[in-house]
Symmetry: C2
Subunit: 178 residues, 2 copies
């Protein structure tokens, strides 16, 4: 089947500090005209730090869109042109105070392919050692160390709801169990 | 720690058919002022249909934000006030042509808590039987049946990248293996 939606017009609605918004007019495969609301995001990184005791250093922070504090793996958005690996290593130290001797890729995910182009690059960090806890001045985060096994249980109970964190945890669990 | 970001002003930038965009001015816990770009989304549903042979009915479709065809579980966005379960059952039949005698919750996830309030309710559908394949007139989808085991492998290889689909697949796999 031909799926392509050809853009015939594109209107820039907003350019922000983190996201942009545009509305595309598209021609569908059946010839009909439709609109697509597209959020442009620079992409980001999530990094799951695992201690030698199979514990994960998780992060608590306030998320304005949800008006609540969430439990997530350390993460951050990419600066323009920045290497995801470099970004992941930096965010790990800033948000948890740890560095890692070993950082492996867990692949990349699309968080909301229906309306956003956000891609997140996931990493696993092991062989941790102390660095400098140094969040941005306006970044308020608190770490919490939880065993991998407990986190899998929390996911199954609905107590971890952040998509990238669930994926990183279940992927590592899957690797360990095989 | 007090994490709260109190909104002191909120500007509506855009109201669309699927998403809205607003920019909030917030007072941070340290008293500093910052802005938050927030995408409002009605929320949605993802439903993983599993045959008696432990195969999954996946869906291929074009995703404008990514300019590519993705492999995902059946999904759809909620209409205002719609029950997620009802939405899931409807999307399942529309996109795959199957109904299910058994539909169980796999919990809810936040896809992009940094900039969007989107919540997705995940379900597992089993005991499938033929209904009516009936996508919306302007919806172009193709189904593909893949074993659960193969999908787990594809996730580990980076061949399935949609967050909700990865979570549904790994959660079901985790349930089966326990």
């Amino acid at each position: 089947m031909n799926f392509l939606e050809r853009t015939t017009k594109s209107e820039r609605i907003f350019e922000g500090q983190i996201i942009n918004l545009r509305v595309d007019i598209v021609k569908l495969p059946n010839g009909n005209i439709s609109t697509r609301e597209v959020v442009e995001h620079p992409g980001g990184v999530g990094i799951i730090p695992i201690t030698d005791e199979q514990e994960v250093i998780m992060v608590r922070q306030f998320r304005k869109p949800l008006e609540t504090v969430t439990l997530e793996i350390p993460a951050g958005k990419l600066s323009y042109g920045e290497d995801p690996y470099v970004c992941g290593v930096r965010e790990l130290e800033e948000e948890t105070g740890y560095k890692a001797k070993r950082v492996e890729s867990l692949g990349s995910i699309y968080t909301s392919p229906g309306f956003a182009n956000e891609i997140l690059h996931l990493y696993m960090a092991t062989d941790l050692y102390k660095g400098v806890f140094n969040p941005d001045e306006d970044e308020f985060v608190e770490t919490e160390v939880i065993t991998l096994e407990k986190l899998v249980e929390m996911i199954m109970q609905g107590e971890v709801q952040d998509a990238k964190s669930i994926i990183a945890i279940l992927r590592v669990w899957q690797m360990i169990k095989n």
